[in-house]
C-alpha cells in the first residue's frame, strides 16, 4: 500500500481526501498557494508545501511545482481531487514518468472521454443510448442542412466546451445563420478549438448521472444514480440520490448497460456518466467525467461506501471488494453546495468568515474547507462547504435539510443559503416535479 499521498487540490475536496487517507493510516501532503498558508487543508495535512502565489496557474495548476513537492516529500501517489489538474492527461503522464501513482484513470482514458464528440461516438459504439446529434459542422450552410435534418430546436455545442459554456438553443435556420460565426469565434477564444456540432434539444430534461468504479482487475461497479437537475446556468447547486424519476427497473437496466460498456473499455478509477432524461423517460448519454465529482457524497451515503477510499485502493492495484450484485440505494440523500456568493446576483463574496457554525446532529454530514476566522480568497471556486443529509425517505431528507440550513450560521460573507431555502420550500421540488430549468424558472 502507498504510505504517503500528495493532494493536488485545496478546499473541501482536499480535506475530503485527507480524511480518507488518515482513516487508512496513509500520510498526507498538502500543497498550497501563498494565500492558502493558513487554509484548512494546509493545517490538517501531515505535511504542507507552498508551491506558488495565489494565482492558480502558478500554483495549483503548475505541474512542475506539484511534482517537485511530491519529490521533496517522498510521496508515493497524487490525488488530483476535482477541477484544477484532475482531467489533465499530461499531468497524469508526468506523474507516471516521475514514479508517482496518479489516483485516477489512465491518461488515454482521460483523453478518450475528455473530448465530447469523441466521447459520444465511443459511448454509442459501446451500446449506450446517445442523444441524436451531428458530426462536426463545416460551415454555416452545412450547419443549416444538418440542423434541418435533425429537426429544430437544436442545441449548438462547442466540441471543446464544458460546464454548460458555449451552447446555443436554435429554433430556425435564420437563427443558425445569425449565430454560427459568432459561436465559432467564441469557442476558439474560450476553448482554443472552434469545432461545433448540433444535438437534439430537449426542452425540459432532467440531469441524471451514474457513478461507476473500475479496478485494475477488470471489475466494474455501477453505484446508482444522482439527480442533479437543480442547476443555475449549468452549474449544479443541489443534488440528491436516488432520483425520483427513475424506477427500480430503469435503474437496473441502465446499470447493466453501463457495466457492460465500461467493462469493454476497462475503465479504471471513479467516473461519472451524465445523462439527460427526457419527458418520455428516455435516458441519453451526455458525457463522461473521468474523476471524482463534487456531489459524490450523496452516493456514498445511500450506498454506504467511501468513494475516495475506493479510488485510492484501486490506484494501489487492489481489487474492488464490493458485492457482485448491484447495490441498492438505502434511504435518500441530498447535498446543498454552500457557495460564498450573493444569493440573488450570484456575485462571488470572498472575505473573512467572522462566524461559522455548521449544522450537526443525526444524519447530517458536513464537508467544508473553511473555518471561522479564516478567509475565502477571491482566486478560487466559491464552494466553501457541502451540507449533506441522509434520511430514510425523501420527505424526511427534505425536512432534515431544511432543519440543517436553519441552524447554519455563516457570518462575514454572503452565501447562497437563502437560495437553498427557497428551493427546498418550493412545492414542485417537494413533489419531485422539476427539470434542469427549475432554477431559472424559480429565479424568473
Amino acid at each position: 500500500m502507498f504510505e504517503k499521498i500528495l493532494i493536488a487540490n485545496r478546499g473541501e475536496i482536499a480535506l475530503r481526501v485527507i480524511r480518507s487517507c488518515r482513516e487508512r493510516g496513509l500520510r498526507t501532503v498538502a500543497v498550497h498557494s501563498e494565500i492558502d498558508a493558513d487554509a484548512l487543508h494546509t493545517r490538517l495535512a501531515d505535511e504542507a508545501i507552498c508551491i506558488g502565489p495565489a494565482d492558480p496557474t502558478r500554483s495549483y495548476l503548475h505541474i512542475p511545482a506539484i511534482i517537485a513537492a511530491a519529490e521533496i516529500t517522498g510521496a508515493d501517489a497524487v490525488h488530483p481531487g476535482y477541477g484544477f489538474l484532475s482531467e489533465n492527461p499530461e499531468f497524469a503522464e508526468t506523474c507516471a514518468q516521475c514514479g508517482l501513482e496518479f489516483v485516477g484513470p489512465l491518461p488515454d482514458q482521460m483523453r478518450q472521454w475528455g473530448d465530447k464528440v469523441t466521447a459520444r461516438a465511443l459511448a454509442k459504439s459501446l451500446g449506450l443510448p446517445t442523444i441524436e446529434g451531428t458530426e462536426l459542422l463545416e460551415d454555416v450552410e452545412d450547419a443549416i442542412k444538418k440542423a434541418e435534418s435533425l429537426g429544430f430546436p437544436v442545441l449548438l455545442k462547442a466540441s471543446g466546451g464544458g460546464g454548460g459554456r458555449g451552447m446555443h438553443i436554435l429554433h430556425s435556420k435564420e437563427e443558425v445563420r445569425a449565430v454560427f460565426e459568432t459561436a465559432r469565434t467564441e469557442s476558439r477564444a474560450a476553448f482554443g478549438n472552434d469545432a461545433l456540432y448540433f444535438e437534439k434539444f430537449i426542452e425540459r430534461p432532467r440531469h441524471i448521472e451514474f457513478q461507476i468504479l473500475g479496478d485494475k482487475h477488470g471489475n466494474i461497479h455501477v453505484l446508482g444514480e444522482r439527480e442533479c437537475s437543480i442547476q443555475r446556468r449549468h452549474q449544479k447547486i443541489l443534488e440528491e440520490a436516488p432520483s425520483v424519476a427513475l424506477s427500480d427497473e430503469m435503474r437496473s437496466d441502465m446499470s447493466a448497460t453501463i457495466r457492460r460498456a465500461m467493462s469493454e473499455v476497462g475503465y479504471i478509477s471513479a467516473g461519472t456518466l451524465e445523462f439527460l432524461l427526457d419527458e418520455s423517460g428516455e435516458l441519453t448519454f451526455l458525457e463522461m467525467n473521468p474523476r471524482i465529482q463534487v456531489e459524490h457524497p450523496v452516493t456514498e451515503l445511500v450506498m454506504g461506501i467511501d468513494l475516495i477510499g475506493e479510488q485510492i485502493r484501486i490506484a494501489d492495484g487492489q481489487p474492488l471488494e464490493l458485492p457482485e450484485r448491484p447495490l441498492s440505494p438505502r434511504g435518500h440523500a441530498i447535498e446543498c453546495r454552500i457557495n460564498a456568493e450573493d444569493p440573488d446576483t450570484f456575485a462571488p463574496s470572498p472575505g473573512m468568515i467572522t462566524e461559522f457554525h455548521m449544522a450537526g446532529g443525526t444524519g447530517v454530514r458536513v464537508d467544508s474547507g473553511v473555518f471561522g476566522g479564516g478567509r475565502v480568497p477571491p482566486h478560487y471556486d466559491p464552494l466553501i462547504a457541502k451540507l449533506i443529509v441522509h434520511a430514510p425517505t425523501r420527505v424526511q431528507a427534505i425536512a432534515k435539510m431544511r432543519r440543517a440550513l436553519s441552524e447554519t450560521i455563516i457570518g462575514g460573507i454572503r452565501t447562497n443559503i437563502p437560495l437553498h431555502r427557497r428551493i427546498l420550500a418550493h412545492p414542485a421540488f417537494e413533489e419531485g416535479r422539476f427539470s434542469t430549468r427549475f432554477l431559472d424558472e424559480l429565479q424568473a
Partner: protein, 150 residues
C-alpha cells in the same frame, strides 16, 4: 476605539518585517487594515535550466521593487525543490558569505523534476547570510540569501 498613530506605525512596521502582504485587525465595527503589494522575488525570472538575464519573464512577473528592510534584501525561491549551493556534488559553491555579487550572477540551484533551475541575483551587493541548507528541500517563497545592496 481610538487608535493612535504609533500603533498604526507599529502595524506597518510589522507588515514590513514579515512575508505577509496584508494585516487586518478587526475590532467590533472597527477594523484596521494595512496592505501592500505581493513581495517580489529576487531572481524570480530565472527559468528552467537556462536562466534569462535581466527583466522579469511573463511567467513570473516581478516588476515591483525588491523587499528591503533594515536587514537587507532577500533572495527567495520561485521553485519548489532541492536547494544546491554548488553546480555538482564536488563543485565549489556558487557564492559564499562575504562575496560581492552582480545582477545575473548565479547564486544557487533549485532542482525539481531532475531539472536544475539556476537562481540569479537581480541586484548588486554582498552576500551577508545563506539561509538555505545545501541538499535540503525548499518551498516556494523560502528565503535563500540575505544580501546587502551596494
Amino acid at each position: 476605539m481610538k487608535l493612535d498613530l504609533d500603533q498604526l506605525r507599529e502595524l506597518i512596521r510589522l507588515l514590513d518585517e514579515s512575508n505577509l502582504t496584508e494585516i487586518e485587525v478587526e475590532h467590533d465595527d472597527d477594523r484596521i487594515r494595512v496592505r501592500r503589494d505581493p513581495a517580489p522575488l529576487v531572481g524570480a525570472q530565472a527559468t528552467q535550466s537556462v536562466a534569462t538575464a535581466g527583466a522579469a519573464s511573463s511567467e513570473h512577473p516581478s516588476d515591483v521593487p525588491a523587499p528591503v528592510d533594515e536587514n537587507g534584501t532577500y533572495v527567495t525561491t520561485p521553485f519548489v525543490g532541492t536547494f544546491y549551493r554548488a553546480p555538482s556534488p564536488d563543485g565549489e559553491p556558487f557564492v559564499e558569505v562575504g562575496d560581492s555579487i552582480v545582477p545575473g550572477q548565479v547564486l544557487c540551484i533549485v532542482e525539481a523534476m531532475k531539472l536544475m533551475n539556476e537562481i540569479e541575483a537581480e541586484v548588486a551587493g554582498t552576500i551577508v547570510e545563506i539561509l538555505g541548507d545545501d541538499g535540503k528541500p525548499v518551498e516556494y517563497g523560502d528565503r535563500l540569501f540575505r544580501i546587502e545592496i551596494s
